[in-house]
């Protein structure tokens, strides 16, 4: 009984506690913002791990899909619910924002999933480091497209998303942004877990081991690759949508190669093909970045140095390709996570 519901219960407690503390203003906005970016990072690293870890490809343009999600969900949201220079008065009554918000984020995710086709279709024939270049190129292409659409600000960026958040808070007085980030983070991890442990998802690992053998064993590799790339980039799009609403401003420059490499580092720090590793490394990485702030310029020497040293001692990342339950078998008694 306890084993069955322990994960649900502990998640609900942690989430409820954070939201309660935020609502009562025991947790400062600074901590809340760090926690929210932590959530975004968790979604990003787990979703990239799907491609880089489980499927064994080397994608290094993840921020591009994040950009698509961020722009689509913010444009749609501002068009529907906010006053804006570009779109004019809101189409719908802002009081419905609360109900529509998860849909907005999901639509951003779906749009990003379709942008994922940009990589998925070439991946039928192109593999390995050649595919890495395609992901890089698609990152550049996406940014360049957005920079060239003058109507949505181009490189001047796009804003107005804060109105939706205040509309939500007006409707029901709760810190909505942390709530949504929390819910979507849990949703994405759950989705990943279900996807990987499904029969269909076993095909992903099969492709990683040996693509030709998998095909002979009647695994439809092209279909699996397409869907995996779409799931991965769709989740990046969700992360992007949340990122845009947390900031209240998007700019194509925020989604460049540097952002992609940051996500890459998180994935390999946690360990390839380890879901709990990705979550853990995203949390550690975010905290590390905040804690080392006082070092200023030196910070960016210390962090890579720490990571290099870590790699020397654990050349397979924090968790290797194992999950938390594999390292501490006793833990399995207490939870069941599906």
């Amino acid at each position: 009984m306890l084993r069955r519901y322990s994960v649900h219960l502990s998640l609900a407690t942690v989430g409820g506690l954070i939201i309660y503390l935020a609502h009562q203003e025991y947790l400062s906005l600074y901590i809340m913002s760090v926690l929210m970016f932590m959530g975004v990072n968790i979604i990003l690293s787990t979703s990239l791990n799907l491609v880089n870890g489980y499927m064994g490809e080397f994608s290094c343009g993840h921020a591009g899909f994040m950009c698509v999600g961020a722009y689509v969900s913010s444009l749609l949201g501002v068009w529907l619910f906010a006053n804006d220079k570009v779109f004019g008065a809101p189409l719908l009554n802002p009081k419905y924002t609360l109900y529509a918000f998860p849909l907005l984020i999901l639509v951003g995710g779906i749009a990003a999933a379709f942008a994922g086709l940009l990589v998925a279709i070439p991946s039928y024939k192109t593999r390995g480091d050649y595919l890495a270049i395609i992901t890089l190129a698609s990152n550049y292409i996406i940014i360049s497209v957005i920079e060239n659409i003058g109507a949505i600000g181009g490189s001047r960026g796009f804003m107005g998303m804060k109105q939706l958040i205040s509309a939500m808070e007006k409707r029901v007085d709760l810190p909505w942004m942390p709530i949504w980030v929390f819910l979507f983070t849990v949703f994405c991890i759950w989705l990943m877990r279900r996807y990987i442990s499904s029969t269909f998802g076993k095909g992903v690992t099969a492709i990683c081991q040996d693509e030709v053998a998998a095909e002979i064993m009647s695994v439809n590799t092209n279909k699996i690759k397409t869907i995996t790339f779409m799931v991965s980039s769709g989740m990046a799009g969700i992360a992007g949508g949340l990122f845009a609403y947390i900031l209240g401003y998007v700019n194509p420059g925020s989604f460049n190669i540097l952002k992609s490499t940051e996500v890459l580092v998180m994935v390999y720090l946690g360990g390839m093909a380890s879901l709990s590793g990705s979550v853990l490394s995203a949390i550690l990485f975010t905290i590390l970045l905040e804690l080392l702030r006082p070092l200023q310029i030196i910070k960016w020497i210390v962090i890579p140095l720490l990571l290099i040293i870590l790699m020397q001692f654990r050349p397979e990342g924090i968790m290797g390709n194992r999950e938390l339950g594999d390292i501490f078998p006793k833990l399995k008694k207490f939870y069941r996570f599906k």
Binding site: T126, Y130, I133, N148, L264, I297, Q312
Partner: protein, 302 residues
Amino acid sequence: MENLVQNIINALQWGSFYALIALGYTLVYGVLTLINFAHGDVFMVGAYIAFFSATFLLTTLGLPGWIALALCIPLTMILTAMVGVTLERIAYRPLRNKGAHRLYVVITALMCGLILEHANLAIFGASRKAFPPLIAEHVYTIGGVTFTNLKIAVIATAFLAFMFLHWMVTKTRVGMAMRAISYDKFAVPLLGIPLDQIIVVTFILGSGFAGLAGLLFAMSYPVLEPYMGALIGWKAFIAAVVGGIGDIRGAFLGGFLLGTVEIMVVAFFPSTYRDLIAFTVLLVILTWKPTGLFGIAKTTKI
């Protein structure tokens, strides 16, 4: 017409830098299948080493420009090669010996690049450095087409470097050992070929030419800053892969291809669409030829 010729010269010069850096990528990749993401920053370090040696030779020793240049070239190449070898020795080799997945070595390389960038920023400050002119620059205009002696020198150096490396890899014993390692890393030491030494030689060659590229780059675009290697490094990597990574000819052609595409897109389309069109072209090339221009399709054994 004049414009076209002018742009071809522009493209050759710009492509030369991509080609020189891509050569370093491809050498290391060919031997170790390691994407050395620190290579762009090794190039940056090369430019800084060139800056400091040139300033030292010109102002402290008071040598005339051409002697300074002649001394500067070997000095930069040797010192930059040392930086590359140091990285290999302290960061990559231990990981390789532990049998880490090759992508962890790639991430380590990425981290090494970050350290080089920010160490530079922390030590020398954020001020940009102006590279002293080593040789007098002459602008020649023939039939409406303008070029400088420096541009010609850059293009010529790129070709010479390519020919040297191509000769080195195909005709010498070291080159043969390099090719052998890229075929089979495990059998090669059994045949008495010193694996680590050959890898060191590879890094010396790759980083040395990155240093040469840094020197030429600093002479052509005399504004140095810590992040100057990052973007050009990524793009040279792209060029190397499009050409077919692991192949010297591929890297060389890929570099010129990327340079030409970038310049020609700007020349004949609105320049705001440069990245869009240039990268779409590359994407199409890689979809059409999945192993690049010169890459050999690997037959997978079952």
